[in-house]
Symmetry: C3
Subunit: 317 residues, 3 copies
């Protein structure tokens, strides 16, 4: 006799409940303080509003009412972010405490310091927008840069997340930067330290590691990695300087990789496309690869389009 | 006499209706069974809830009520997924039948088998989360990995979609993985077979083709392609093994390409950044490219920043 | 005596208002004509509906009511797009005028011309869908291509945005293509001119610059850049042909870069993976790089997995 639908569902539920017990590593039941990712993303939108007022709303933003709007949004960010930071501190076993009031007080203190820093964050982002406009002949005006440029969005999120990261907030900064990574293809760890007038053009595939330091007026193109030489040490490497230092006025062209915590790219250096750099470069140096020689072959009498021909492999069909 | 607005709209409508008849290939009018992409994405969210309970919700999930919640969500997945799978089977001309009951019965059978497999899927995903934490010094804890890591999201979706793909469900698995591709930049075809403890770090630009086989404890970095040597055979190549086999304990560093259905990367091999591999590699082998020699040029007395200098091209301005 | 919460909020508001005055470049208060990004994205969805009728909706679309639906959506696109284009024209200082009626009339004219072109846009997109299906052995059918392929989505948005770009609409075309860039990792500037039967496979990391010209039946793979040789001229280069010309029947494999406004890739040429091309290529030519020689090293007696070994660096731990 075959099972009824209800019996099957019961068995499935039982199977999953058993699995929850067996694999607690991916199970968060009865967790006291659950960070809410959707709330974090709303906070990020409100912070963008505060930083770029008037760009992302339905109606004209008037100077006569701006003070009221700013106050209201600040208040909302403060309330919601404090709650989430408290949960993140609780969530992090290092801070776990029985005293909810103490955790809340600490979160309040962090969020206050953070909000006082917003004008400073804006000041630096204004330089980033200017750098994007100056550096890209396709940019129509600075408004287009703010509306549309993924590099500007990614660095805006990074500068916000970096402040929280530096104040020791767990989990939340990375949620923010991974959200930006998802939207832009630009993966900047919140730990990375970045100077003013920073511009990433196109951006898809860019990776900037946790302990990277970047000076002023630096420009990166799509597919650039500022990474670790190795992560095989895994968690044993936590906290070590694993990623490079990029000094002022450096340009890194598309697809280049610069790896290693001891690697310093000196002031004013230019790293060419696809270069693979694992040692320091002196200031004012152009580093380029001798591009792999191109081979040309006349294919006018053949019909094939495949890539096999490049490797002298036998044809497949 | 100029046309009225209404006349113009009428002409535009007429133009489009004519175009619908002329190009039916991108027209789906009167199609009996329309898969709904939004419903598929809701189902994906519910499956994520079942797999990672307590991570993605507003309130604390309590063990006292967990059974009730799991039952409710399972029921909803079953109902909605069955309807969509039925439509997908109808949609696929190979299964088209006049008998809606038969198609529904087949969909019910597939979805039941699929849901019974969820604990097995969870078991493997628990190993993936562990591998991500172990392999990345920047990972704060396993919760951060689950909340934020694009590689974990992409492989979660792949493991779900792969089950449906193996049961012969058309269209839906690819909708799922392309959604993950959009969010993460990681393009894993639902046909790819992947062993446990799989980790993709950063991930943007990763491509894993339909007939790829990956062993246990494999780690990929951003920009890695596990691809076909050629697709010039187009639809004539359908079903053939076109993508490589990666054995256990292999690491593939950023930007490397491994191509071809006969290519086997042996157990414990390590493939270096940007390597371009089109033939098999023995076990326990390090494959690296002799990196293109770097050329250094002092530019301290020049002001230019352009890339032309690298190629000895005349300056443009 | 410590400050009250209200005092702190007041200080924060004051700080931000001061910052708004100090950095007007990222401030849009009192701006008369504010383009709304959300409305632009809704318009894009409606245009997708008109181009691919029946694919992206909840219910079956019936031929008996199609005329009514098309008329309604066209009307909505016309109304909303006209308003946004008017704002974009105002927003652009070159067009700024006291006469709102004049700006509106100009916007109306542009949008009407644009909507009359939709059947033409559909005609070309039908060829793109066909090319995607023909070119990819993993494609199940053309519906899957329309539902799921990021390359098809990106080129659909590009063909829409390109029409508006050519009619001189500021800001809006780029908002559209950057939205597609975010969803797909494919960055096609709305200025790029692209022939029929165009296919981008996988697509993450593709960059196609503003002044690129692409012929018919061209195929690009993931990570391909059709870019400028240098942008160091910044805004001084605006309007110049900075990006390459790709003639008919060209295939460009993954990771290749083709740079420069004078670079012409001749008809029927094939550019191999990772090639870096900065000069013209004759028709019917295969260009490949002599792939960097692979080096093999037996690591069976060592336990390390790191990348350092490739560069003879001392181990770190």
């Amino acid at each position: 006799m075959s099972k009824t639908s209800q019996q099957k569902i019961s068995e499935m539920v039982e199977g999953l409940l058993g699995s929850y017990e067996e694999h607690p590593i991916i199970c968060n039941i009865d967790s006291e303080n659950q960070i809410n990712r959707d709330v974090i993303l709303e906070i990020l939108d409100m912070l963008r509003w505060l930083i770029y007022p008037g760009y992302f709303e339905m109606r004209k933003l008037k100077s006569s009412s701006i003070e009221y709007h700013v106050g209201e949004i600040l208040e909302s960010v403060r309330y919601n972010l404090t709650k989430q930071v408290m949960k993140a501190l609780y969530h992090d076993s290092k801070y776990q405490t029985e005293d909810a009031d103490e955790a809340y007080a600490q979160a309040e203190c962090i969020v206050t310091r953070f909000l006082y820093k917003l004008p400073k964050v804006r000041e630096v982002l204004a330089t980033d927008v200017q750098a994007a406009y100056d550096g890209d002949p396709a940019a129509f005006n600075t408004d287009e840069v703010i509306f549309s440029y993924p590099g500007v969005y990614a660095v805006s999120v990074n500068r916000i997340a970096h402040e929280l990261y530096q104040m020791g907030v767990p989990l939340i900064p990375r949620m923010m930067t991974e959200h930006a990574h998802g939207l832009t293809g630009i993966d900047i760890h919140p730990g990375a330290t970045i100077g003013e007038y920073f511009f990433i053009d196109h951006g898809t595939g860019v990776v900037v590691g946790e302990t990277t330091t970047i000076g002023k007026n630096v420009k990166l193109y799509q597919g650039v990695t500022l990474g670790a030489l190795s992560t095989r040490g895994g968690q044993g490497l936590r906290g070590m300087k694993r990623h490079p230092t990029i000094q002022d006025n450096v340009t890194v062209y598309s697809g280049a990789s610069i790896l290693g915590g001891e690697t310093v790219i000196g002031e004013g250096a230019v790293i060419g496309s696809n270069a693979f750099v694992t040692a320091s470069v002196p200031p004012h140096t152009r580093v380029s690869i001798k591009n792999p020689e191109l081979q040309f072959k006349d294919r006018s009498r053949t019909a094939e389009l495949g890539q096999e021909g490049f490797f002298n492999r036998k044809e497949r069909d």
